[in-house]
Symmetry: C2
Subunit: 475 residues, 2 copies
């Protein structure tokens, strides 16, 4: 959410970066002189310098001594994007967990280069300030407060969350918020609130494996909807499915979808909400990456367009502030009572010290500053990883161009088996997330997901060289 | 668990209290002179004085100026105990939540005298020391540690828990422990690990309503097993049910069962485990009250006798140390992988700062000292509440004699409707837990559960007078 605006030089860097991305500034081209930009954009020369420095740090341009700035060659060796997915259309029983678990277990070793990780680097989080807030929470939590506010969650935290949504333009009050043990619990509670065993639920393909696991756990059946790597879920396909099957719920990610990074445009989000409202089908919206956008525009979730209380919004602080604290939240729409009851039946409440610490942190007002730094780091790491891939991978490889989050989705040549790439990479101390875990029917056999949430060190660069070599050798 | 032994005078007080409970020292009788006891028990006179003081504080005896100590009249106006429950024996679909929730909601108001509460008073917990441990955890938790030890839980905490079980005589290693968001999550995970929708599960009647809710949530069917208020689940009835129905799991509480307070004798625990092993039926053992025993003997759980990995043991720190932290654990026996996977699918992990804080607290070694103080407080409150009930309630009322925990289970004359008592009490600012919420078929219409986990203040005493009056008026 944009509560604190991006600084002037960051806005400028964004504007100029867009020219490079569009191809209006070609690789090797000289960047406009500082005084020209300064005059055109009504900013001081030092602001232009700062913008150029930022773009340099992101690997987009390079300064040459005494001759100005030039667009990097690598910035534009653009690999193609994968096309929309076309998952098999029939209903499926879900039986995925064993496969996913065995792969996730392999990825857990801390010695391994974490290209397969689901988290960004913990070094991106504001630990010093968070510790201050936990210390303050520690002073605040009284014996009685610990037993008292069990059900919907800490009042102050719910107010802070509501306030952030409000500031972003959504109409949310503290009473609309239920605190959960991370977004994952929220998603599971929402799913259970609106389904019974045997029901059919629409999920994305490729999509987050936790959705598949949740369906399996609750004995639900799945229908997989294709995903466009830029715009997300295919609404035409969804419309067909809604006409054909009795769909009990949808579970979608509208902002920086995992794994493809798709950002559903605002108009399409509205259309999605209206379509589901006509069919009276709840939407479970997983929005954990929405704060991690590139550039300077926060994108509102589909929940924004929800007039019937049918959208169950789930998010958390685990990807942006405090992994391990396990604090997330749900805006459950009309299903609030049911969600709260399910929570009361299963985990009762989220850990109180963690809730109070995050409430304190939010209240101190530095969350947006932290998020801005984190976004800049992620976008820079994105640029660097894309460049490395362009350099070290065979040119047949296709790569998504996400506008946020920290995942790249790579399509390898068709005959290359991602599970074999996964095995060979792991043998060399590198993890990745192979495509088949993102689909119930083990599709996407020649896709892999890479995490650019870690600083682009030599170790990461070397891992990409190795990975490119593994793929090349399989051609 | 008895890691730190009770002090000498506490042991002596226990021995002498037993004489009163047995009736060998009658109400009004003079207690043996200090020098006699001192000689008989080979302790110093001051130890005897300390023991008498303790017994006085518990309301068992009273000092008279210059003439020694006398057994209190009230200590022996003993009310009858309720007899074994006889729940209807057929299988049931479970549909209880709405009813239970509406009653629990009524009980939540902090202004209300909390005789209906499920928690002991938070004032019984060692908040100052716990704050020290959370502060220390705050220093210890590093960015990487927060993401690293997600799956089974904090290593140090698992080791501390295993060590406590070991010290109590059980063979448990850190690898056998999975940390959960309180015992409630553990119980739910265990239940789901061994059942599929439609399966039949044996539960206690009367029994903890969370078991009923869990069954309902997972679309399971229930068969209710009678409970003896002293010895717990009726094994003959269970044997019949195991022969007749295909039981997929049992969910029982063997120590200080909620609501009746039954303590299953060791031999019976062993028999239970062997019986279930013959039928290959897993036992989910809810053991959250086992540390809250009266006297000085920790009772091992049924898990102690588990040779086949069929017992899934669940406990927590929520009733004994840190409510609101939401930290519990499971010893899942042979179902460890499944339980861990379900956890990974639903809440991922318990809050890391809370886990590390409790590990630190346990390591500092004052848990047993705290537990001992808490047990003494609870036993004293028990004595005081039983006396008040004997004084202020009609003599037809029957009361359990628990040997631990903090619940009394009262049987009112048959025609008295506990739900009406509940309504009338609530109108006077007093909560209680009416019998029907402890059974799927709303049995126990003339039973109520009272919580003696709060200091026996004038307010509590007055509430019992009022409650006794409400019951008397309905005779």
């Amino acid at each position: 959410m944009v509560i604190e605006r991006a600084k002037r030089y960051e806005q400028l860097a964004e504007t100029l970066s867009a020219l490079i991305r569009d191809g209006r500034l070609q690789p090797g081209a000289r960047m406009p002189a500082v005084r020209v930009v300064s005059a055109q954009h009504h900013v001081s020369p030092s602001t232009v310098f700062q913008a150029y420095e930022l773009m340099e740090s992101r690997g987009l341009i390079r300064a040459r001594a005494r001759s100005g700035h030039y667009v990097n060659e690598q910035a534009q060796r653009v690999l193609d994007e994968p096309s929309s997915s076309r998952p098999a259309a029939q209903l499926s029983e879900v039986d995925v967990s064993q496969r996913v678990f065995s792969i996730l277990r392999a990825v857990k070793d801390p010695q391994v280069v974490p290209l397969g990780s689901a988290f960004p680097s913990p070094e991106l989080f504001p630990w010093a300030r968070l510790k201050q807030s936990l210390a303050s929470a520690n002073r605040l939590v009284s014996p009685w407060s610990a037993v008292m506010h069990l059900p919907a969650g800490n009042e102050l935290l719910r107010r802070q969350i509501a306030w952030r949504h409000l500031a972003a333009g959504m109409s949310v009050s503290a009473d609309d918020v239920i605190i959960t043990n991370g977004a994952l619990e929220g998603l599971n509670l929402c799913l259970q609130a609106v389904t019974r065993p045997g029901d059919v639920v629409a999920i994305e393909s490729p999509g987050f494996y936790a959705a598949q696991q949740a369906l399996e756990r609750l004995s639900l059946r799945a229908v997989e909807i294709p995903v466009d790597p830029r715009e997300g879920v295919n609404l035409a396909a969804l419309t067909d499915v809604l006409r054909r099957d009795s769909i009990r719920a949808c579970w979608f990610m509208t902002n920086y979808q995992n794994p493809v990074g798709a950002l559903m445009p605002d108009a399409k989000k509205r259309e999605l909400v209206q379509l589901l409202a006509r069919h009276e089908v709840p939407l479970i919206e997983d929005d954990v990456y929405s704060e991690l956008y590139f550039g300077d525009t926060y994108r509102l979730p589909a929940k924004m367009y929800d007039e019937n209380g049918l959208v169950m919004y789930c998010s958390s602080f685990s990807k942006t502030l405090a992994p391990g604290y396990r604090v997330g939240w749900v805006l459950p729409g009309r299903f609030g009572e049911k969600v709260e009851q399910l929570k009361l039946m299963t985990t009762l409440s989220a850990s109180v010290p963690a809730q109070v610490a995050i409430a304190d942190y939010l209240q101190r007002g530095s969350y947006d500053r932290h998020l801005r730094k984190m976004r800049i780091a992620l976008e820079s790491q994105y640029q660097q990883m894309v460049q490395s891939i362009a350099q070290h991978f065979p040119f047949e490889v296709k790569v998504t161009r996400p506008q946020g989050g920290y995942f790249l989705w790579l399509e390898l040549p068709e005959h290359i088996d991602a599970l074999v790439v996964h095995q060979r990479a792991l043998a060399q101390g590198i993890s990745l997330a192979p495509g088949p875990i993102f689909s119930i029917k083990q599709e996407y056999k020649n896709f892999i997901r890479l995490n650019f949430g870690h600083a682009h060190t030599d170790k990461i660069e070397q891992a990409l060289v190795t990975l490119g070599g593994i793929v090349a050798a399989m051609l």
